[in-house]
């Protein structure tokens, strides 16, 4: 295990996910492992997964952000207001730029709110628990003030694909193309890393291990594409699609797959960018060093306050992206959007191996953690567990997962 540099915790998570999926599939008489359910599962995971990426960095620096759910609610309301009330007046109803301006405003607003909280934490030395607990109350209140509690609907039609649904499925051909590009990138990454290590004369992984990693990675990507493509569009929608291209709808009908969903691709892109940021850029190195020993980072010349402020700013940007996803998914902006999301996001990061003591955590782990959480929840809905019991199960799983992780960690050291 050691020489091939597999992370045993990651393998454990994938195994846990497998157990959960097979378990629910058995309990639901095969309804869990269907293209339809898995497609929806991924779409539902997207918003939490995006925010979990940022939460990893926050927790790695020994901080916490309790405000993300409320911030999502506030940003979502502002975005709803802008695209349903403000932009139609300024640019006209269903203007082609509306969706883009909405995303921009959402991301910028989230970033500014995050930077503001981060500055309070880093420069005024107020504990992040308190600042973001305050934020949890303030942003939720602010979300109500935007429209005095009114829900805003519907959203712009070009904005709605961000939330998934039929309009947010990119189709089978594009899905294969994206899948193949990702596979090519995985292979190129492996080859480049190997070449670098050889150039410096470091030890290389055995070829079979490289092959296994490549096969696993590409298999997961192409498997996901296959599942997404196997979920057929409703016949009416498929027919309209065909006819819109000027083709004739065949007698016996035709099945057209959904393909990957926009929010899932968005979450994937965020995951890749954030992984790159944490592993390959100086910023990520500083984040981890601060988590390991804040004093040492500072004595080494790292501007720890600036880095900390940026971490919270980044968290805010990701909240902005998630606000777009969930507003588009609901096709409405409500002031209660994102309620309790902070807990799911923190749970996803922690289940994914982020240590609350700081200094340890991975983006991939947190995204898998989000998928585990969502699988539990969706699975319970599918087999008809009522809401109070769902909460009890999720709570117990969180505690048990962190306990097991602690046992594992102690055994290592």
């Amino acid at each position: 295990m050691r020489e091939i540099e597999f992370d045993p915790r990651m393998i454990g998570m994938v195994a846990a996910l497998g157990v959960i999926w097979l378990g629910f599939n058995w309990l639901s008489d095969g309804a869990f492992l269907t293209p339809r359910n898995l497609w929806n599962l991924l779409v539902q995971t997207a918003s939490i997964a995006v925010m979990a990426c940022g939460m990893v960095l926050v927790i790695v620096t020994r901080n916490i952000d309790l405000s993300v759910g409320s911030m999502l609610g506030f940003v979502g309301m502002v975005v709803g207001l802008i695209q349903a009330r403000l932009l139609p007046e300024l640019l006209g109803f269903e203007h082609p730029a509306t969706w883009f301006i909405s995303i921009l405003v959402s991301v910028a607003l989230g970033g500014v709110l995050g930077l503001f909280q981060g500055a309070l934490i880093a420069y005024l030395a107020i504990p992040s628990f308190i600042v973001t607990l305050g934020g949890l109350l303030v942003w939720r209140g602010a979300a109500w003030w935007v429209t005095q509690g009114q829900t805003i609907a519907p959203m712009d039609t070009r904005f709605r694909p961000l939330g998934g649904g039929i309009e947010g499925a990119i189709g089978t051909g594009a899905s294969w193309a994206i899948g193949l590009v990702i596979c090519a990138l995985i292979l190129a990454g492996i080859v480049l890393a190997r070449r670098r290590r050889r150039r410096f004369g470091f030890g290389l992984r055995p070829i079979w291990a490289e092959g296994a990693i490549a096969a696993l990675g590409c298999g997961a990507v192409l498997g996901t594409v296959m599942v997404a493509n196997a979920y057929p569009l409703p016949a009416g929608v498929a027919r309209r699609l065909v006819e819109a291209r000027g083709l004739v709808w065949p007698e016996g009908g035709l099945t057209i797959g959904h393909g990957l969903a926009v929010p899932v691709l968005l979450a994937l892109a965020v995951g890749i960018v954030m992984s790159f940021l944490t592993k390959r850029l100086r910023f990520g190195r500083y984040v981890f060093a601060i988590g390991g020993n804040p004093e040492a980072a500072q004595l080494s010349g790292v501007n720890t306050r600036k880095v900390l402020t940026l971490v919270f700013g980044l968290m805010g940007v990701l909240v902005g992206i998630s606000a777009c996803i969930s507003t588009a998914r609901l096709n409405a902006a409500t002031n209660s959007a994102g309620a309790l999301d902070e807990l799911y996001v923190i749970a996803a990061a922690v289940i994914g191996g982020t240590s609350l003591a700081g200094g340890v955590g991975t983006i991939a782990g947190a995204m898998l953690g989000a998928l585990v959480m969502q699988s539990l929840q969706s699975g319970m809905v599918l087999i008809g567990v009522d809401t109070p019991l769902q909460n009890i199960v999720v709570g117990v799983v969180l505690v048990v997962a962190v306990w097991l992780d602690g046992l594992y960690r102690r055994k290592l050291s």
Binding site: R196, R197, R199, F200, F202, K279, R280, L281, R282, R285, Y286, F288, A289, I290, G291, G292, N293, E295, A296, A297, Q298, L299, S300, G301, V302, G359, V360, S413
Partner: protein
Amino acid sequence: MSLATARDIEPPPLVEMRDISIAFGGIKAVDTVSVDLKAGEVVGLLGHNGAGKSTLIKILSGAYRADAGEIRISGEPAVIANPRDAKRYGIETIYQTLALADNVDAAANIFLGRELLTPWHTLDDSAMESETRKVMGRLNPHFRRFKEPVKALSGGQRQSVAIARAIYFNARVLIMDEPTAALGPAETKQVADLILELKRQGIGIFLISHDLHDVFDLADRVSVMKNGRVVGTARTSDVTQDEVLAMIISGKCPAGATPGPGALRGQA
């Protein structure tokens, strides 16, 4: 007048700390301390626990800002507001606490804040690991655990990493706060040889140690501190170890030393 002629012959010292004071909540940890260091010189800083040695050198390394006093580097007044400023003046420090980020590997620690980058501004981990192997080879040839977080290393190995970080960047001034406290005899010898080699290269070294023998072997001069003040400064050739021990314990300044503000007065 004689001062002016002396200046003409001798270049100004590499480091001059003049009348430095700092207090923590009313406790004067360092009280009007003056020390200096020439290029190619090793100055031992001695004193009992809590005398203020670490605090003094942390002012030079940019970890603390002095409440009063002046620092001059090569005769020019220097502003050292943070560790980055100190490094810009070529001042590298091995802290008593080592100041390592436990969760990342040796290379990440050595290059923390000064990472090697690829042309695309990404971390060049392979280059950093390769450099780390070179510099660690000088200090601790048996070191192999390059990939592991520093947390997993022994006390001596951790200390070697901290020393490697200080010597890698071509320091002009090296501050070593108890650099061999966790090292075995072989590694301690290696560090002693290293100090002599760096000295030959013209680097000035502040060496803090509780081991009088070591200090007498390596240092050209010693400054003794007690309760935040300098008892006295002496060339190691002008005083005996017993006299220095007396300076540390009772604050009595012998004839061979220049007394400082902390010297015991009114006694023979």
